[in-house]
């Protein structure tokens, strides 16, 4: 015998593993054992197969791969002894799964064992089949299982019943074969057969409408009687749990009755009495009794209406809810959630208790309770409930704040009776848990504020105050700086004071202070800083006295390492310094944001990519009809994908001025090709130079932002880019879409825009010229499609023309076949060949390529080589 294959005993291996102090040691032991087992498997060692498989199961449990032992299971199953078969089947269930092909090989063994004369072996096979059978096995072996449902020994019948469940789930059309045998099982006395038979009937009802009808008609009364017998049965020591005979059977029976009673008044009527008996007579001082009550309540709630029973059920839930045991309270909350659809009024009565549960120290209970409160809220109780929740927000655990905040925001948004209340509540949430608020929530807050024109002053003052107290809550800071930027003048002059407000004195420089703190604060992220930058620009116009100071702040970011901030800084600086004549027009107050659009977008009802042409046709008149408005709109447009290139009324360039959007390129290309009217000044303002260059710089920017996917769009998602195609409101509303259009812009548009990359002469010698045209595949910015065109500059025909290229590792190159291998002389034709280059370092490294061109000229081999490094940047 191989000295290595005998290995250690199972006990010794387990001891060795237990003795391991570190995971590394454990791995070493396991590796050694696995090696020994593999060796034994290779030698086809019979004596230790059994032990090796036991070891493998242990190793598998520890989470190591054991696939190499799968065939051993099959060998053990095929052997004749019971102990071997038993461990083989166990191994089969643990180490294999129904997806493995090896399983196919076991079907035959299973079939033999299902017909075995030893009932224990039949039991093993049934158990294995019940746990792992696949659809094919189900089809092959269903007749055997069906027959075993009538086997003389109840221990086989019960296993056959559960095996049947697996079969009908895998192959529902087999269900009808099982209806009759399953119904027969319901008449049994043996608890094991009964519980599995009831389970089988329940599952049959779920897969087959016929089965449901059949059991409803033929078995309801019998089941009611069975339940009655179990409920009233005398003490049975084998099944007794806390004075109740077999609570598991109770529960299964109640579940099946629920299936039968649901949607059928007669069946429901039939079970009323027994349900009433279970609900009133079951002892509720032990877990087992409560488990039955819990199931009974669910059945009562699900079957057809019977007022008396419902009252009983709700009362049980009330008792559960006030129970001291957390488990009972948990299930009560769980059940109330289901009861609310049946009897909302009854659940409302427990509101106070449920609200207490939201504040429980147990996370599971809190979570259930919060879900429940959420569905309990209506117009009538939204104010007190929200107040409670917000008060609790102050003291709740950090980890719970996320959930809680999301729910509060959702409640407030859904049921708020008036705008001022909404704004008040949201400001409270933002101040308390602003860091937990999702982006779309604070976007929504801005939309609402923008719409509440009579509350602008009130809101900006409230935000200013809140910011003094909770400057660490990022989303509060964002909303505040947006509002101060927009409505700074209302803040300083106390415009639109409401009666409820205390007047505050804020100077212009105080307002700028707040923004300056936000932009300089180390925790502020890029979005916040970028928003602060825009706010500063706006304030520079609103508060002329602070203009110089603002310029100083803005200028500090001229050297920012973050491209976005640097760009904004430079652009805004030029606006402040050089273009005062247009500044006030540029930074006019935002038009009212359209709520309907925003809601539409949030609902996700319209995909961003829907018909860009429709968007364009809407936008076009907008750009033309309102030439003065458009620049403003685009100025702050952070991602209007729908702004069509032709609507080039100067706005587009301003749009570029501040824009960071990917879809910019499409606009840019428009800029390059369409004649412009009066935009040159603005171009100069950009100080980038000629349009072509600006186009390139934009494409660079595009590629970089494409990579990190975090381009700043402070107002991202505030409105839907495509829903403006169904914009019903006035022209004035349309700009708001552009205004706040987020990054949802459709990338293909940008990528389709191959013209953004100019063609280059990649190679030129005295004999040959090669020109590259570039385009991008939609949805794949990394890949560039290059069309190479070769032209013969000599007067000789080239034959056997072959082009070869090599790229560094970060690139992948694919060459399509060339259009031909003969190149006519003197440029009288050309060969084209398509190359596809995928840049894994897209945005970081530029393309580079080495080429070699071979051809025959006058039957002489010519070889030309070169390196191409003049690819446009950003490919």
């Amino acid at each position: 015998m191989n000295p290595f294959s005998s290995g250690t005993r199972l006990r010794d291996m387990i001891r060795a593993i237990r003795a391991c102090k570190t995971a590394a040691e454990e791995r070493a032991v396991v590796r050694k054992e696995c090696a020994a087992i593999r060796a034994a498997i290779n030698e086809n060692d019979q004596d230790y197969r059994h032990r090796n498989l036991a070891k493998l199961m242990f190793i598998h449990m520890l989470g190591y791969p054991t696939h190499f032992g799968q065939m051993e299971c099959l060998k053990l199953i095929a052997s004749s002894g019971f102990p071997e078969k038993r461990i083989g089947y166990l191994g089969l269930m643990l180490l294999l799964d129904e997806r493995q092909e090896v399983l196919m090989l076991v079907t035959n063994s299973l079939k033999q064992d299902l017909n075995h004369s030893n009932q224990y072996i039949v039991g093993l096979a049934l158990c294995a089949l019940g746990n792992i059978c696949s659809a094919e096995m189900a089809r092959d072996l269903a007749p055997e299982v069906e027959r075993l449902l009538q086997f003389r020994d109840p221990n086989i019948r019960k296993k056959a019943a559960l095996c049947s469940i697996r079969i009908i789930k895998k192959v529902p059309e087999l269900a009808e074969n099982f209806i009759n045998p399953a119904a027969a099982l319901l008449k049994e006395k043996h608890h094991g057969v009964l519980i599995t038979g009831v389970q089988l009937c329940t599952d049959l009802c779920k897969v087959s409408e016929d089965a449901l009808e059949y059991f409803r008609k033929k078995c309801t009364e019998g089941l009611v009687k069975t339940l009655k017998d179990v409920v009233n049965s005398p003490y049975a020591p084998e099944y007794d749990i806390a004075g109740i005979t077999d609570p598991f059977l109770h529960i299964r029976l109640l579940k099946l009755l629920r299936e039968l009673g649901q949607g059928d008044a007669d069946a429901s009527e039939c079970m009323n009495d027994i349900l009433a008996q279970v609900a009133t007579k079951t002892e509720s001082n032990k877990n087992a009794g409560n488990a039955i009550l819990y199931e009974c309540v669910e059945t009562i709630m699900s079957i057809e209406d019977n007022g008396g029973l419902r009252v009983l059920a709700i009362n049980i839930l009330g008792r559960f809810l006030s129970n001291r045991d957390n488990n009972i309270r948990y299930v009560a909350l769980n059940m109330l959630m289901k009861a609310i659809t049946v009897d909302a009024q009854a659940v409302q009565r427990h509101r106070a208790t449920i609200l207490e549960c939201v504040k429980d120290s147990d996370a599971s209970i809190r979570k259930r309770a919060l879900e429940l409160v959420y569905v309990l809220v209506n117009e009538g109780n939204v104010k007190p409930l929200t107040k409670e929740l917000i008060d609790y927000l102050e003291v709740s655990d950090e980890e719970f704040k996320g959930d809680l905040t999301a729910k509060i925001c959702s409640i407030v948004a859904k049921f708020s009776p008036e705008k001022i209340w909404y704004i008040d509540q949201m400001l409270k949430v933002l101040s308390e848990a602003g860091n937990f608020v999702k982006d779309e929530v604070w976007h929504a807050v801005i939309v609402v504020i923008s719409n509440a024109s009579d509350l602008h002053g009130y809101t900006v003052r409230a935000l200013y105050r809140a910011l003094q107290l909770s400057a660490e809550q990022e989303s509060l800071v964002r909303v505040a700086i947006w509002c101060i930027g927009e409505y700074g003048d209302l803040l300083v002059n106390n415009v639109g004071m409401l009666n409820v407000e205390d007047p505050i004195t804020v100077t212009e420089s105080d307002a700028v202070d707040v923004i300056e703190i936000a932009i300089k604060h180390h925790t502020s992220d890029l979005t916040t800083k970028a928003m602060a930058m825009v706010a500063l620009l706006k304030l520079s116009s609103r508060f002329p006295s602070c203009s110089e100071r603002i310029k100083d702040i803005v200028v500090q970011y001229k050297g920012s390492l973050v491209l976005e901030l640097q760009q904004r800084s430079i652009e805004m600086n030029s606006i402040i310094a050089k273009h005062q004549n247009i500044r006030s027009t540029l930074v006019e107050r935002m038009p009212v944001l359209d709520e309907a659009t925003f809601i539409g977008k949030r609902a996700g009802s319209i995909q961003a990519t829907v018909s860009p042409s429709a968007g364009a046709s809407i936008n076009l008149p907008n750009g033309v009809a309102k030439p003065t408005a458009a620049p403003l709109v685009d100025l702050l447009d952070l991602g209007s994908d729908d702004v069509p290139a032709p609507s080039s009324s100067g706005g587009d360039l301003l749009h570029d001025l501040l824009g960071v959007d990917l879809s910019m390129a499409s606009t840019q290309s428009g800029v390059n090709h369409a004649p412009k009217n009066g935009t040159d000044v603005l171009l100069d303002l950009l100080s980038i130079g000629s349009p072509t260059q600006s186009s390139q710089s934009v494409s660079d920017m595009l590629s970089s932002s494409q990579d990190n996917k975090t381009p700043v769009s402070p107002l991202e998602g505030l409105s839907s880019p495509s829903s403006n195609s169904i914009q019903p409101t006035s022209a004035g509303a349309a700009p708001t879409i552009d205004l706040l259009d987020g990054f949802s812009s459709n990338p293909p548009k940008q990528e389709n825009n191959g013209t953004a990359y100019p063609s280059v002469v990649a190679f030129e010698s005295s004999n040959l010229k090669m020109v590259f045209n570039f385009s991008k595949l939609p949805g794949n910015p990394q890949t560039t499609v290059i069309e190479a065109t070769f032209t013969n500059l000599s007067t000789n025909i080239y034959s056997d023309f072959i082009f070869q290229a090599a790229v560094p590792k970060f690139l992948q190159l694919h060459l399509d076949p060339a259009s031909g291998n003969t190149l006519p002389a003197s440029g009288n034709g050309s060969i084209t060949q398509t190359l596809r280059v995928t840049n894994s370092q897209h945005g970081k490294k530029s393309l580079v390529m080495r080429i070699r061109i071979a051809y025959k000229m006058n039957n002489k081999d010519v070889l030309e080589e070169g390196q191409i490094s003049n690819f446009p940047r950003g490919l």
């Binding site: 006990r11 387990i14 237990r18 036991a54 199961m57 242990f58 449990m61 520890l62 989470g63 791969p65 019971f82 102990p83 038993r86 461990i87 166990l90 269930m93 643990l94 799964d97 129904e98 997806r99 224990y120 158990c127 019940g130 746990n131 221990n155 019960k158 296993k159 559960l162 095996c163 789930k169 608890h191 094991g192 519980i195 599995t196 389970q199 084998e238 099944y239 749990i241 077999d246 609570p247 598991f248 529960i251 299964r252 877990n287 087992a288 488990a291 819990y294 199931e295 957390n326 488990n327 009972i328 309270r329 948990y330 299930v331 769980n334 120290s361 147990d362 599971s364 209970i365 979570k367």
Partner: protein, 143 residues
């Protein structure tokens, strides 16, 4: 199918028995076990025995140094599962005589055989301790 998996874990969080009734890859199992064990072991005695994790509900119960965790569907009766865990422990007690972690470790296959008699394809097969143990004792006598 109600029960999706049964785990026995010691207080250090090491798995001592794992039985799944649905297919998960080895990596998914390891990750799932690590996550739920961390969640459950961190809870106090006073907190309820149910933890929601992904689309599972974990019903767990602690016996001395051993945790029994059962993952179930959302519509399963949590209290019944709690009772089932107790039945499982009582059955093992009857066989091993006050079952402990080492019994399960060193008799892993036997623990599995018992479980096999109690749960199949995620459903309860038998609730009588003597019916569960009869085949196992018979085999012990034979071998």
């Amino acid at each position: 199918m109600g029960i999706r998996f049964i785990l026995m874990v010691n207080k250090q969080g090491q798995t001592r028995l794992a039985q799944y009734y649905e297919y998960l890859t080895l990596e998914e199992r390891r990750a799932l076990e690590a996550e739920i064990v961390r969640k459950c072991l961190a809870r106090t005695e006073q907190q309820c025995s149910f933890v929601e994790h992904r689309n599972y509900k974990i019903v767990y119960r602690r016996y001395a140094s051993l945790f029994f965790l059962v993952g179930v569907d959302n519509d399963e009766n949590e209290l019944a599962i709690l009772e089932f865990i107790h039945l499982l422990v009582e059955t093992m007690d009857r066989h091993f005589g006050n079952v402990c972690e080492l019994d399960i470790m060193f008799h892993l296959e036997k623990a599995h055989f018992m479980l096999e008699e109690m749960v199949m394809n995620g459903c309860i097969v038998e609730t009588s301790k003597s019916s569960i143990l009869a085949p196992i004792q018979l085999m012990d006598k034979m071998s």
